[in-house]
Amino acid sequence: MSDFFKKLRRRPSLVIGGLLTSLVIGMAVFAPWLAPYDPVDFADLMVSEEPPSAQFWFGTDNYGRDIFSRVIYGSRISLAVGLLSQVINTFIGVILGLTAGYFGKWWDDLVMGVTNIMLTIPALIFALAIMALLGPGLLNVFIALGLTNWSYTCRITRSQVLSSRSLDYVTAARALGYGRARIMLTQILPNITGPILVIATLGVAYAILLEASLSFLGLGAQPPTPSWGAMLATAREQLFTAPWISIFPGLAIFITVMGLNLFGDGLRDILDPHLTRQGK
């Protein structure tokens, strides 16, 4: 056990990232107990644009809503969007990468062709194109982000499959008469979960940033939904009268994304022996 802690101390990014991420997850899970006011229904125009005080920790917005409560509830939206869209991305990426690497031939050419084109389109631009089709709304953000960020997962999965296809354990499985699907899912996939997990963690961070960006542009979560990005959408107009409206939702995004990034970096250090050797 003490050995475990000693190891952790050598990995500050994993520890700090893990702590920050746990903090945000805790916020999302315990939101109803943590938030002093209702994030949407409590809107008292008598206290609109109040600066931070003992009563309203982060101040209030132009509708007199409690920013602290809205920031707490915002974690639910960010995490839901981040996790769900990344699950879709990972699923698409892994299936395409596995099959492309394993079957090769024309399927591989097709998948890699599409993947390479996806890599040439900036994720935000692609997400915007999908939002243009589907129209603004949080549900559409899930779909748009679930379809935009699978190309890295696909590439890594494919290259890992290619390098493990001729390894002994796969040959052995084939000799045992395992079918193709069984080899891919029970033999190859478990051996490449490490890198996929790292990409997925960093992908959640990226998706959260993208959701916040789309909501900031007015294309994502619609008012009065307490999404961090949407809360900042009108903040610019209140910069002179109520600057605190700009500060806290952005800080929440920053902390969440940084936590996940650090955690993902830490995971990579552990799971990728090649990089660890080059580290200090």
Binding site: A129, A132, P243, Q278
Partner: protein, 310 residues
């Protein structure tokens, strides 16, 4: 080298073709009527006017014909006509290209000018205060939401200190350019710092560096001639690839700072369902990205003589 550049340029054609196909299908699967409606026409417009408009914009034809017509125009450099403003998309987009490029280039200059030296010196003094500080800064830089950073900068420099304007183009002078460019450049800078540091750390362990030390070359000379040069190839790859992300992020920064570039035109056109404009903006952004990547590839050869293009 010239032959290689030409061949790469030719390869753009299929890529752009596929991208336009995907984009066209994505943006045009909705029936044309709905498009026109949302594009500014009210419901009470009588059927006759509607019919004329549909014919005028070619929306009465089946999807594949519309795509072929779109490509036919595209080949001659014609991006179509805006639903809403009845103006040529070329003109609308053309007015916005320069402000966006100006913003992107300035952001890139800041990112390269600060990010690469920071990463380089951090790697040379691993574990030092500079190293720790710049790496903490780098993690923050890639995690910070740009529109928030922009708001903070705007608050500090425009509201508190009152030395820079909050928003607007202002003829594109440096005063108006500074905050948006810094906002756009910080994430890119952080990424370059990280990549440079990792690349230098790797190069420092290479055999040829040990040989150079053994030859008795001075530290300065090793760093400048051997380390820097070998690092640059790795750094340039990231720089080129990430330029796409930078082009994407101009959308947010332009919107925040009311900068009259392609990004803000793109967002406006999405809200107005002005599909020809949306298509035009996306296409221009992607073409800029492709051209930058080609330029980066050609730069490799200039930096690394081992790379030869045939």
């Amino acid at each position: 080298m010239l032959a290689y550049a030409l061949r790469r340029l030719l390869q753009f054609i299929p890529t752009i073709f596929v991208i336009t196909l995907i984009m066209f299908l994505l943006l045009n699967v909705l029936p044309g009527d709905a498009t026109l409606m949302a594009g500014g026409l009210r419901k009470e417009v009588d059927a006759k006017v509607m019919e004329t408009m549909r014919r005028q914009f070619g929306l009465d034809k089946p999807l594949y014909q519309r795509y072929l017509l779109y490509v036919k125009d595209l080949v001659t450099g014609d991006l179509g006509v805006s639903f809403l403003r009845r103006e040529k998309v070329n003109r609308l987009v053309g007015q916005r290209v320069w402000p966006t490029l100006k913003l992107a280039i300035m952001a890139m200059a800041i990112a390269v000018g600060v990010g690469i030296p920071l990463g380089f010196f951090s790697a040379l003094r691993q574990g030092s205060l500079l190293d720790t500080a710049s790496m903490v800064g780098a993690v923050s830089g890639v995690s910070i939401p740009q529109f928030w950073l922009g708001l903070l900068l705007m608050y500090f420099f425009s509201v508190v200190l009152r030395i820079l304007p909050t928003t607007g183009y202002g003829g594109g002078d440096l005063k108006h350019l500074l905050l948006p460019a810094v906002t756009l450049g910080v994430g890119y800078m952080a990424l370059l710092a990280r990549t440079t540091r990792a690349a230098v750390v790797e190069v420092l362990t290479a055999d040829y560096i040990r040989t150079a030390h053994a030859k008795g070359l001075s530290e300065l000379r090793i760093n400048r001639k051997h380390v820097l040069r070998n690092t640059m190839v790795l750094v340039l790859t990231t720089a080129g690839l990430q330029f796409g992300a930078l082009m994407g992020q101009t959308v947010i920064v332009e919107k925040l700072f009311s900068w009259p570039g392609i990004g803000s035109l793109l967002v406006d056109s999405i809200f107005q369902r002005d599909i020809p404009v949306t298509q035009g903006c996306i296409l221009v952004i992607i073409v800029v990205f492709l051209v930058v990547n080609l330029a980066v590839d050609l730069l490799y050869a200039a930096i690394d003589p081992r790379i030869e293009y045939k």
